[in-house]
Each structure stands twice: as structure tokens, then as C-alpha cells.
């Protein structure tokens, strides 16, 4: 029986001995020294979603480089402390604790996946550090505390905008839904689309949810084909939409598909170009926008990383500039001042559009509907939040 106790003592001794990091009191979160502002970044840099994290990180790095080259913010340089969440929500909380207590960052940027953002949020909230999510679209994220912000639009707005676009602009009345039942993004979008489309007077003629990582959609497709919809709403990720579109065309269904920002990928055209001809999806910005800011960003990104940016990198880029603006508006670089500044953001002009932070700490911004035609994308319409009211 004694070994229960022995074990506990041995373990404690072992652990304590291996610790070098004793508590250093006095130096409270101030976000770095006099000439730097420490910005914590937590993203999936390895694991299943490494692509999300890496492209976002590229955008963040680009923005930080530009700001620092231009002399920093009020003479202070931005210092990025990046932590890898290994694509696991649980690890997001662990690294959040490291950023908050060890690295003593003034502000945190992350993560892409809503699950990770929700796990990390309470840590930053408790530590009094503002957190800015570049691209977590789940409505629950910013509800985790009054220091949790985001610079992207929300799933509810995205679903409603797609519904309005299909009903008012394309003039369709009969819609069908295909979505992943076990994915909060897909399921959420489908739900908001359904409510909004019905609310406007349209009807949902068929719903064909699927579950898990499937690559065959025959059953769902024939179910929808039988109902004869005018338009199909498919809020899925880009890897799936190609397969779904292929199965629809195979069965002779040629009505347009409509989707959300999950479709976006440099490979979209390559994976599904022909089958998605004439389909539409909602996106964060128009890549062909001749606006100087957008073009400047696209050029700088391609020059630095040798690849085309996507929406995640653009949102990462905007998140950094939003933090910069918050520091200027809040009058300083302490955690509290940045939080105050973030709340005051109005008509901020970023690559992903102009936005203001509303009272729920969400970005109020427009969505750009793009049409897939041949081998390129073209802007069809920009839907603003006030258009839906």
C-alpha cells in the first residue's frame, strides 16, 4: 500500500526537479519590453489541418514584416510568438496558457478552427488578454468572453447571404440541401440557409445530409435529383465539392450549386472546374478587385511566398492590421488598451473588405458572391449585412 504514497512523492520530486521555470512574480502581462509588442499566434502548423495554419501564418508574417519595416507602431516593433496547436483543440488550450503566462503576450491571434478558438478563449479571457480570431466563423466563438474578437463574418450571415442571393438575385424558389451532418460549419450553414430561404418564401424541396469522410454521393444525389430543385446549396469544404458536383453532373443534374467560403482553394478549379461551371460561392473578397490594397497584398504575398494567397492568409493579414489599428485607437499596447481599441474599430479597410467591430465583438462585413466560369472566378454581387435587414 505504501507505494501509492511513494509514487506520488517520487513523481512530485521528479517533476519539480525537471522544472527550470519557476514563477517569476512582479513582471505581469505588459506585452513585452519598451520597444516591442508581443503578439501570440496559435494555429495548426502541423497535423491534419496544417494547411489552414500555415497559410494564415503566412498572411500574419507578411503584415508584421510590413509594419515593422515601416517603423513599427508608435516606434514599437511587433514580435510574433507562434505556437503550434497540432490540429487539436485541446492543445490550443495548452498553448494558450503558454502564451498567456509564459510569453506574456499583449494580444493573441488564432485560430482558424472554431473548436480551437473556443477552447483557447477562456484562457485569454481569464488572463485579461484580447484574442482575435482571423477566421473562426462559428457564432459561439466570440460568446466565450468580452475580450474575444474576430475579423471574419459569421456562419449565420454567410448562410443568410447565400439564401438571399439564391432567392433574390438568381430568382430561384426551390432549393435542395446537401451537407455534412457531423460538421458544425456545414450543418450550421445549412441551417441558416434553410431558415432564411423559407423566410423569404422559397421552399426546401429536399435535404440530403451525409456523415463522415465519404467520397461517394450517389444516394444523396439521386434523392435530390428526384425532387427537381432549381438550385442546390452545398456548404461543404473544397475537397468534397468536386466529388459532389461530379456525382450531380453524372446523373444529369445541371442546376447551379451554391456554397460558402469552404469551397475556396487554389485547387478548386483544378479539382472541379468543369463540373462547377455556372455555380456560385460566397467569399471574403474578390481576388480580381482592382483596389490598390488588394492588389498590393496579392503581389507582396506572391513575391514573398511564391504561391497564391487564399482567404485564410488574407484574414490573417487583416487580423494583424486590425490589432495595429486597435493599438492606435486604444492609445497603447497593453492588453487592456488593445481590448479597448478593438472595440472601437469602425470602417476598417482591409484586404477582405471594410468592416466594423459590432457590440458582440464580431466583424460586420460584406460577402462577395463569385461565379465559377471556365477556368476563372468572377464577382457577381457584394452582399452587405444591411442588405439582409
Amino acid at each position: 500500500m505504501r507505494y501509492a504514497l511513494t509514487l506520488l512523492i517520487a513523481l512530485t520530486a521528479l517533476f519539480s526537479a525537471s522544472l527550470t521555470g519557476c514563477k517569476d512574480k512582479g513582471n505581469d502581462a505588459g506585452g513585452g519590453g519598451a520597444d516591442e509588442i508581443r503578439v501570440g499566434v496559435f494555429l495548426s502548423l502541423s497535423g491534419a489541418n496544417a494547411d489552414f495554419g500555415k497559410t494564415t501564418k503566412n498572411g500574419i508574417d507578411l503584415a508584421v514584416e510590413e509594419i515593422n519595416e515601416a517603423g513599427g507602431i508608435n516606434g514599437k516593433k511587433l514580435v510574433i510568438i507562434a505556437k503550434d496547436t497540432r490540429s487539436k483543440p485541446e492543445e490550443a488550450q495548452t498553448v494558450a496558457k503558454q502564451l498567456a503566462s509564459q510569453d506574456k503576450v499583449a494580444v493573441a491571434i488564432g485560430s482558424v478552427e472554431s473548436g480551437q478558438s473556443i477552447k483557447a478563449a477562456p484562457v485569454f479571457q481569464e488572463a485579461g488578454i484580447p484574442m482575435v480570431s482571423p477566421s473562426s466563423t462559428n457564432p459561439d466563438v466570440t460568446k466565450q468572453g468580452d475580450r474575444i474578437f474576430r475579423v471574419c463574418y459569421l456562419d449565420d450571415f454567410q448562410g443568410q447571404a447565400c439564401a438571399a442571393f439564391a432567392y433574390k438575385d438568381l430568382g430561384f424558389r426551390k432549393a435542395a440541401l446537401i451537407y455534412a451532418q457531423d460538421d458544425d460549419y456545414s450543418k450550421g450553414l445549412a441551417q441558416y440557409f434553410r431558415e432564411a430561404f423559407k423566410g423569404m418564401g422559397g421552399s426546401i424541396v429536399e435535404e440530403a445530409p451525409f456523415q463522415g469522410d465519404v467520397s461517394e454521393f450517389k444516394d444523396q444525389v439521386s434523392k435530390i435529383a428526384a425532387a427537381g430543385p432549381d438550385v442546390i446549396f452545398a456548404p461543404v469544404y473544397y475537397a468534397k465539392i468536386g466529388l459532389i458536383a461530379r456525382d450531380f453532373r453524372k446523373q444529369g443534374v445541371t442546376v447551379p450549386l451554391v456554397g460558402g467560403d469552404g469551397w475556396e482553394s487554389p485547387q478548386l478549379i483544378q479539382l472541379a472546374g468543369e463540373t462547377l461551371e455556372g455555380s456560385y460561392f460566397g467569399y471574403h473578397y474578390d481576388p480580381d478587385d482592382q483596389d490598390a490594397k488588394v492588389q498590393g497584398y496579392l503581389k507582396a504575398y506572391s513575391a514573398k511566398f511564391g504561391s497564391d494567397p487564399n482567404s485564410l492568409s488574407a484574414l490573417g493579414y487583416d487580423a494583424v492590421y486590425a490589432v495595429k489599428l486597435a493599438i492606435e485607437l486604444g492609445g497603447g499596447s497593453s492588453a487592456d488598451q488593445i481590448t479597448e481599441g478593438l472595440r472601437k474599430i469602425k470602417d476598417f479597410k482591409g484586404v477582405t473588405g471594410t468592416f466594423s467591430i459590432d457590440e458582440n465583438r464580431n466583424a460586420k462585413k460584406s460577402i462577395t458572391m463569385l461565379k465559377i466560369g471556365g477556368s476563372n472566378l468572377s464577382k457577381v454581387k457584394v452582399i452587405k449585412p444591411e442588405d439582409l435587414k
Binding site: M1, Y3, T6, L19, C22, A50, K119, D140, G145
Partner: protein, 341 residues
């Protein structure tokens, strides 16, 4: 009995001391590692009774943990806020917290009976697959419940209650509560192993037919082992819920079940000491490699090193670090010069 109570009281004091010490001197980051290790130990030592002692290969531990986490989270939310809501975290009352853990354990234990029952018919790989299936069913059912937050799960689970003399420091009293459970399960499991019941479980592992011939009620004992493991997995889930403040069904994928089995195999299947050591290693190695990863700018390196360690381990020491041996004061006495043999 008196001895057990004495030991538990000693454990209580030790955990309080540990909590105080860490709050006073150690950085939160390391306390976080310690807490994650503690939860892993509870899982591993519990599974050791099923897999190690009784020899019933279960791959469903994440399922029990999931049930515990959701039950504890919901009970705690209900009693603290009255409904699911958003806002800053609050502290759970002492009674609420203990009740939520107890209910978490009981709910998981009931499921242990449900899963343990087919265990009477299935053996080896078949049982492993059945338990894996059970855990997946649990996860998918939880995902489908919109009232439980669907895929994003439940949020704003209150913090663990404070104790007299502990301030509201960053890590709170999590170390105290988690290690109190660790201490309890290690103590109980050690006792169990040496009791009539434990011997009966070992007999089933070695030869079920022979054990039954000797009068061991194998069916009943196997279910008991499942209930024991599940109960503590449920409590581990409850602790996890209060520690992370939000739980989602995807926190409990089959990967987690496998991780717990890896802890056991690494430490030595059938050894409590091994289970503890395995839990420490599996939790700590990826975290300790983090600075190296950041230094070299190679993300994902830790997974490679971790997998490599497992492979080397299986080649050079397939029985695990401890095999079926235990670490005890007796062992120290034997090693020390002049000690009793």
C-alpha cells in the same frame, strides 16, 4: 479500514501541499502539464484494471470519458448558471463539483455494465473492436445532439471550487482535485490488485477456464472490472470538463482510447506503476519536445520522435518499462545497502 482512511487523509494533505507549492513557486505552464498528466493517470490506471489485470482488451475508454465529461459539464452548468449560457466563467460550488464528478462516474459505470456484458461473450480482438465501436457510437450520438451543442459541444463549464487558503491564482485548485483523484485511484487499484478480487481478475487473465474451475465467477468479475475502469474514466472526464471549461465530442475520438492503451503498453501492461509512468511519458514527451520544435522550426517533429520512441520500445522492451512489476518501498529497501531482503 482505518489505515485506508489514514492514507486518504495523508493524500488529502499531500495534494493540498502540492497545490500550495505549485501555486506559490511554479509557472502555470508546468502546472498545466501536471494536470494533463494527472487526468491521463486516472484513465490509464483505470484501464489497467480492465486490460492489464483482467486481460480484457478494451479500446473504448474514450467513450466512458466522454460520458463523464458531458454529464459532469451539464450538471455543473445546470447547478451553477441554471441553463446553458455565455459569459465569464464562474466557480462551481463545492457540493456541485463533487456531485457532478460522482454522477459522471456513475453514468460511466452504468455504461460499463452495458459494455461489460458483451464482454462475457467476446474475447481478444473481437472485444477490442466491439468496445471501439461502443466509443464511436457514444461520440456520434453526442455529436448529433443539438441540445448538447452538437459538434462544438458544451461550453462555459464552471471552474473547480477553491479551497481555504488558496487564492484565485491562474491554475486554481485543479492540481489539488485532480491529484486527489489520482491518489485515490492508485491507492484503490493497489489494494484491489492484492485483494481476493484482484487475484481473481489475474486468474481470469491467465486462464479463464481454470479460474472458473477454481470457483471464480468470471462473468461477474469481468463486468466488475469494466465498471471499475469506467467509473474512474467518467471521473477523469468530469475533471477534464472542469479543467478545459468546454468539451466537444471530438475530444473523445478513438485516438484517445488508443493513446491510453499506448500508455499501458509503454509502462507495462498489468503494472500500476507502469500505467502511471506510461501516462507521464505519453503526455509529457510531445510537450517537452515543443521547445525543440520551435527552435528548429520543424512542426510535427514531436510526433515523429514519439512514434520512434514507441517503435524502439517495442523492439527492445516489449513488456513495457515496468513489465508487471511495481515500484514500492520494498524495492527501495532491497536496493539500498543493508536493507531487508
Amino acid at each position: 479500514m482505518a489505515k485506508t482512511v489514514g492514507l486518504l487523509l495523508a493524500g488529502l494533505v499531500a495534494c493540498y501541499g502540492l497545490n500550495w507549492f505549485l501555486a506559490e513557486f511554479i509557472e502555470v505552464v508546468y502546472v498545466d502539464y501536471l494536470n494533463l498528466i494527472g487526468i491521463a493517470i486516472v484513465l490509464a490506471v483505470g484501464l489497467n484494471v480492465i486490460n492489464g489485470l483482467t486481460g480484457q482488451f478494451s479500446l473504448g475508454h474514450a467513450g466512458f470519458m466522454a460520458i463523464g465529461a458531458f454529464v459532469a459539464g451539464l450538471v455543473s452548468i445546470q447547478l451553477t448558471y441554471g441553463e446553458m449560457s455565455s459569459g465569464p466563467l464562474e466557480l462551481a460550488g463545492l457540493g456541485t463539483f463533487l456531485l457532478s464528478l460522482l454522477l459522471a462516474g456513475l453514468a460511466a459505470a452504468v455504461l460499463g455494465v452495458v459494455v461489460g456484458a458483451p464482454a462475457l461473450r467476446l474475447k481478444g480482438d473481437y472485444l477490442a473492436i466491439a468496445t471501439l465501436g461502443f466509443a464511436e457510437i457514444t461520440r456520434i450520438l453526442l455529436t448529433a445532439q443539438d441540445s448538447l451543442g452538437g459538434p462544438t459541444g458544451i461550453k462555459r463549464i464552471p471552474k473547480m471550487p477553491l479551497l481555504p487558503g488558496t487564492g484565485a491564482w491562474d491554475g486554481g485548485t485543479s492540481v489539488f482535485w485532480i491529484f486527489l483523484v489520482v491518489f485515490t485511484i492508485v491507492l484503490f487499484s493497489a489494494r484491489l490488485q492484492r485483494s481476493t478480487y484482484g487475484r481473481a481478475l489475474i486468474a481470469i487473465r491467465e486462464n479463464e477456464l481454470a479460474a472458473e474451475t477454481m470457483g471464480v465467477r468470471a462473468a461477474r468479475m469481468k463486468v466488475m472490472a469494466f465498471v471499475y475502469g469506467a467509473f474512474f474514466a467518467g471521473i477523469a472526464g468530469g475533471l477534464y470538463a472542469h479543467y478545459q471549461h468546454s468539451v466537444r465530442p471530438d475530444d473523445f475520438t478513438s485516438i484517445r482510447s488508443i493513446e491510453v492503451v499506448v500508455m499501458l503498453v509503454l509502462g507495462g501492461l498489468g503494472s500500476i506503476t507502469g500505467a502511471v509512468l506510461g501516462a507521464v511519458a505519453v503526455t509529457l514527451v510531445p510537450q517537452l519536445l515543443r521547445p525543440l520544435e520551435e527552435q528548429l522550426q520543424v512542426n510535427g517533429l514531436s510526433m515523429v520522435v514519439y512514434a520512434l520512441l514507441l517503435i524502439l520500445m517495442m523492439i527492445f522492451r516489449p513488456q513495457g518499462i515496468f513489465g508487471q512489476r511495481e515500484l514500492s518501498l520494498k524495492l527501495f529497501r532491497r536496493i539500498l545497502p543493508g536493507g531487508r531482503k
